[in-house]
Symmetry: C2
Subunit: 346 residues, 2 copies
DNA sequence: TTGTAAGCGTTATCAG
DNA sequence: CTGATAACGCTTACAA
């Protein structure tokens, strides 16, 4: 049942040209006569011919394979990323090979390098938090492999990065909180080893300070971006007197933890306490009350990253540098936030 | 900076043998002298040599690439599947290429075929609901491509399938409901075009009937597996008089919708109403109250599927048929279910 | 604008 | 058990 598919030789023979010419047509070379091109293309269509990627790769030392390196237990956006990448690359003849890994693994860099070399990948896209590892970026650079990192800070050259401006987004959340009249605000941060965490915290503080509001030390607690640590941090925060009037969590998972604890303690949200998260993951809109949060244009980021990568792969560094490198997350207001409950003045 | 990696020729030269012999060693051929083998392996290690997959593929018409075809799984599920597949296949030298697609696309079958042919994939794993499409399975069979489908019914030969026994799981949920004393039970089904939906519904009915309980017609409503349709169905169900004492939804998303509506209507869960879902996705444990649900061993299914596939690829159909093909989901009891509120007798 | 010849790094064939 | 030698299907020189 497996029928051998036609090769470049078949096309050449039927079109009455040399395989070299067929090759030119396939690769869009300009130096092919119009009539010749048309004839060849007709045969290609008739035969439903498509070039053998392996042979092509072997001859040209390219694989037409892109890699995706990630480690994200909360990879709710994994599907989004994969679709975004493929929307761009599949029309250009590339496929996507995935490589889930462990951020904390000691052999991470070597693992990734092996992954790349085994499959002779033409380039890789790296998702946070792995994308923040300088050791990996350096190794990739030294290996001469095109790569693009998705992060929340510009920690690399423009052709190597697509950043989501988490800082600005967090500042916007601060503004939103301030305008609702909140003054006594708490923050559950993510692990400080992640740039995304520090960016969000800084942005939030900055945004607040524009309104003369300061985060008190005891109102900042570091979580681990998990639901469970969200619960722990919320227990701490909600046992303080007086209660803060609002809590901003570094991500939706932890914000959901806050909701849980508030519910257990009989604290009404948003009447007594406003809560917001970050990511707009599956959870955010399903939880009760639905979470006010920040949405990152994940798909778009993936598309930009892929566009950049392919430009670099195809030797267009300059164009790659000109593709937009920064993307703006947006505030999504739902049910978990409201006017500050208690007037501060007395 | 890119250093050309060593080839089989380098190994052959340094080991003082022909490349054919090196090839034999690489492929674990038995007909190689022990001393020769040791010598070659030593050189391979020294050079950190690894064979070029493309050349290998070209010569042997294999790609060492596995494909994953899916449409719209719950996010966490996707990561689980990908890791499960790779845990098995990466140690055997295979990589995973992903292909998100659209179940409803008219060109789905052709898309998948093109995907496979372009990259000369050695085999594909297909996730539900795409895995339920007979047209695709048939095309794969005709194309002579090894494939394995993840489904909830045995709709194919053992070497081509890994099934999660959703029917039995739903029956277990029924038993659990019955034992809690529920008699007036409602069911929000998934789209009846999906086997997973019909299996779950049948299983639930069957389980119930063992306790002499019947689902009333007006207590069965079909949703679309989305949160939004969950809400619609819940509105319908919860406007009926009397209220059912329990609702089982075809998945967690819809169960979350029920929670939402119940909350809006002031119906206490689980005191007045028990609610359960299916999947144990991220949502289930985070929602308030946490959902009683069914967990499928997704990772294990992916591993089994991969094991089968590689056996088929490597011509071991018999072994492939002997790998376990059925997997049992388990009941996870959380906070959303309780004893039936009202005694039926009067 | 087109064609010829020589690989790319493996495995398969067929000897020895 | 081992080794020449020819594929595999394509691209890259280099000519014409």
């Amino acid at each position: 049942m497996i029928q051998k598919s036609s090769t470049i030789n078949d096309v050449a023979r039927l079109a009455g040209v040399s395989k070299r010419t067929v090759s030119r047509v396939i690769n869009g070379s300009l130096s092919v006569g119009d009539s010749t091109r048309v004839r060849v293309e007709k045969i290609i269509a008739e035969l439903n011919y498509s070039p053998n990627t392996q042979a092509r790769g072997l001859a040209s030392s390219r694989s037409y394979l892109l890699g995706l390196i990630y480690d994200n237990p909360d990879a709710l956006y994994l599907d989004d990323v994969q679709r975004g990448v493929l929307e761009i690359c599949s029309t250009l003849g590339y496929e996507l090979v995935v490589h889930p890994c462990r951020y904390r693994s000691e052999t991470l860099v070597q693992d990734c390098l092996n992954f790349i070399n085994r499959s002779k990948l033409d380039g890789v896209i790296v998702l946070p938090p792995v994308s923040e590892l300088e050791s990996l970026a350096l190794a990739l650079k030294n290996a001469g492999r095109p790569y693009v990192r998705l992060t929340s800070v510009s920690i690399d050259e423009p052709q190597h990065i697509v950043v989501s401006d988490d800082r600005a987004a967090a500042a916007e959340m601060a503004r939103y909180f301030a305008q609702l009249g909140h003054q006594d605000i708490a923050f559950i941060s993510g692990p400080q080893r992640y740039k995304s965490s520090t960016e969000r915290m800084e942005g939030f503080k900055l945004g607040l300070s524009a309104y003369g509001i300061t985060l008190q030390t005891e109102r900042i607690i570091e979580g681990n971006n998990t639901y469970e640590t969200g619960i722990e941090c919320a227990r701490n925060l909600l046992s303080q007197t007086p209660l803060p009037t609002a809590i901003f969590a570094n991500n939706d998972q932890m914000a959901a933890g806050v909701l849980k604890v508030a519910h257990q303690m009989g604290i009404a949200i948003p009447d007594q306490l406003s809560v917001a998260g970050f990511d707009d993951n599956l959870l955010a809109s399903r939880v009760i009350p639905a979470l006010t949060t920040i949405r990152r244009p994940v798909r778009q980021m993936a598309q930009l990253a892929t566009t950049k990568m392919i430009m670099v792969i195809e030797q267009n560094d300059k164009s790659a540098q000109q593709v937009a490198a920064k993307v703006a997350p947006t505030l999504v207001v739902r049910e978990s936030t409201a006017q500050a409950a208690v007037a501060v003045s007395s």
